[in-house]
Subunit: 336 residues, 2 copies
């Protein structure tokens, strides 16, 4: 049996995760039982939601048990199989863990994928994975954008945010993105087609509110929110009547006590709504989303960046990029 | 011309209003111009939203100009008229001010009312006014309650909250109310038919969260929110999947810097929504709401309490009851 390096959760992080919360161990891969198959993981998706799974209360998923490897969506190749429908050499994708080898079960969440269908197999973790589906269904179904409206996206240089901006342009909206630093802001307008970019760094709520008002002179009809805190509050101060806020993430609050949304009164004044969204609600429509995103990508209307770090030994540093904002695109860890 | 006592806004309140922010003056009533009529105000509605009108930024209404009488909905009798359609002796209702006499204009917001249609003319400020319409449309349209669901109401002993609880029961829901103090809580279950009452006094967010979980063992499907702060956050921790929060008011925040809603992440986990509501959106359907509420009231299915204080000289103390929670029912000031 091959050795299996596994990136374990050893301790629940108190606020910002530190390296000592995790451990990289090596153990033999387990013997397969009937109905199981062994996956050689090649790539893992690193996502902000994984931070919530590390807490004792979990979120929409149960917490990762202490001593277990960190749960993650991976793509890999079946190395050995005692399960019907999964043969050695077959590419698969599933909710596994940050480890060299995972054990899949027939009828579980691991499904075959076809690398020949996509420019890069990693696209299954970006455009054709949770990221793409979150942008597609979260923006189009939850935010209900109309032509001519103004769409504000926070975390706009991130994987989901950059896609939402491009979808907003396809739908004939004005797209305003918020990101950290001049490089990211340049990427928003030059690469993703945002009409305006706002650098949140060095701006308090009041300055952010003014910057949004400048960039959205007709007000904001839709917010696609990934960040929370002062950025959400500044957005709320610019809402138009009957505006819709799609709440995708609150990454500013995952490692700290929340500042709290202080401008909820604007929802009353503007008869606006905040609605939480989770891609899992749209699983049955993923084929529809994938087909449409694939078509737009083929037509050159959308592009997605992938930030691929190498090596399971770098799992911690790569994961922490998500909170430092030092990734340029969908954060992916290359395992093999 | 009769003397006109007027309760003026002299200074914008900094946080909690103090008596020195206002002044009661006496001046002659103005000469009527063609198209105008003089209203002898008998009753004024005192509402939390008026606090927002006192701030420089206003809310959904422009701010009350300094030196003007405090804007309020009043009912009264036409004393003199130079306007077609308004004759002396006619009862009217409109957005006027806290003063003995207001001047109305034909084609303005003041409309005739018929006291013979209601048990008490003050009902036009409660069940058949903004309070009743807010409960009716805000709960039924924005919160979309379904039979068998659990409805949580904050500010449940207040005018709107007590009605929402009764509407929840009519719709076959479990109604859980939050109010301050044992007397109010007793009123919720004994008079308004709530299934359970929670006294928020002396409870922090954690204790409130546990109390709601006890009173709503199947979770909360609808929140009708009048208060905000820790009460809203505790409610959010008990949401069911796809729950709806109708945001009617945030009275805990009107006189102070907001604490902020810290549990918005629950909206993602539960794919729930918060939607602001304002009764003005339903003006064209008020007749429908009034007819239905009137029928239920006649059948003994709903009751509304009115807390009537007397005397324009007591306007400040009466208004402040709304924030101290010392009113028992719709707060009305009897002017004459």
């Amino acid at each position: 049996m091959p050795d299996n390096r596994r990136f374990l959760l050893q301790r629940r992080p108190a606020g910002t995760p530190v390296e000592a919360d995790f451990d990289l161990i090596t153990e033999p891969t387990p013997e397969l039982k009937p109905g199981e198959f062994l996956i050689r993981n090649h790539y893992a998706s690193l996502d902000p939601a994984m931070r919530g799974w590390m807490d004792a209360e979990g979120n929409y998923m149960p917490p990762i048990p202490l001593g277990d490897p960190v749960r993650a969506t991976t793509i890999g190749v079946v190395e050995d199989s005692q399960a019907e429908g999964f043969e050695a050499g077959q590419w698969v994708m599933g909710l596994n863990a940050l480890e060299d080898y995972s054990v899949g079960v027939a009828g579980g969440f691991t499904q075959p994928i076809d690398p020949s269908m996509v420019p890069s197999v990693t696209n299954y973790l970006s455009l054709f994975g949770a990221v793409g589906m979150t942008a597609y269904f979260g923006f189009l179904e939850v935010c209900e954008p109309n032509e001519g409206e103004t769409v504000l996206v926070s975390g706009a240089a991130g994987a989901v945010g950059s896609l939402v901006g491009q979808l907003a342009k396809i739908k004939g909206c004005r797209a305003v993105g918020i990101a950290g630093g001049p490089e990211k802001c340049a990427r928003l307008t030059e690469k993703y087609g945002f009409d305006a970019a706002i650098d949140y760094k060095g701006k308090d709520e009041e300055a952010l509110t003014a910057a949004i008002a400048d960039a959205a002179p007709n007000g904001v009809d839709v917010i696609f929110e990934n960040v929370g805190g002062a950025i959400l509050d500044a957005g709320l101060m610019n809402l138009n009547l009957y505006a819709r806020v799609g709440l995708c993430g609150l990454i500013s609050e995952y490692n700290t006590d929340p500042r709290g949304a202080r401008n909820l009164w604007q929802l009353i004044v503007k008869r606006a709504q905040i609605r939480g969204l989770l891609v899992a609600d749209y699983v049955e429509r993923f084929a529809e989303g994938g087909a449409q995103l694939g078509q737009w990508a083929a037509e050159g209307k959308i592009t997605i960046d992938e930030h691929i770090d190498e090596g399971l030994e770098n799992a911690f540093d790569s994961f922490m990029r998500l909170f430092a904002g030092t990734n340029d695109g969908k954060m992916i860890l290359k395992i093999a």
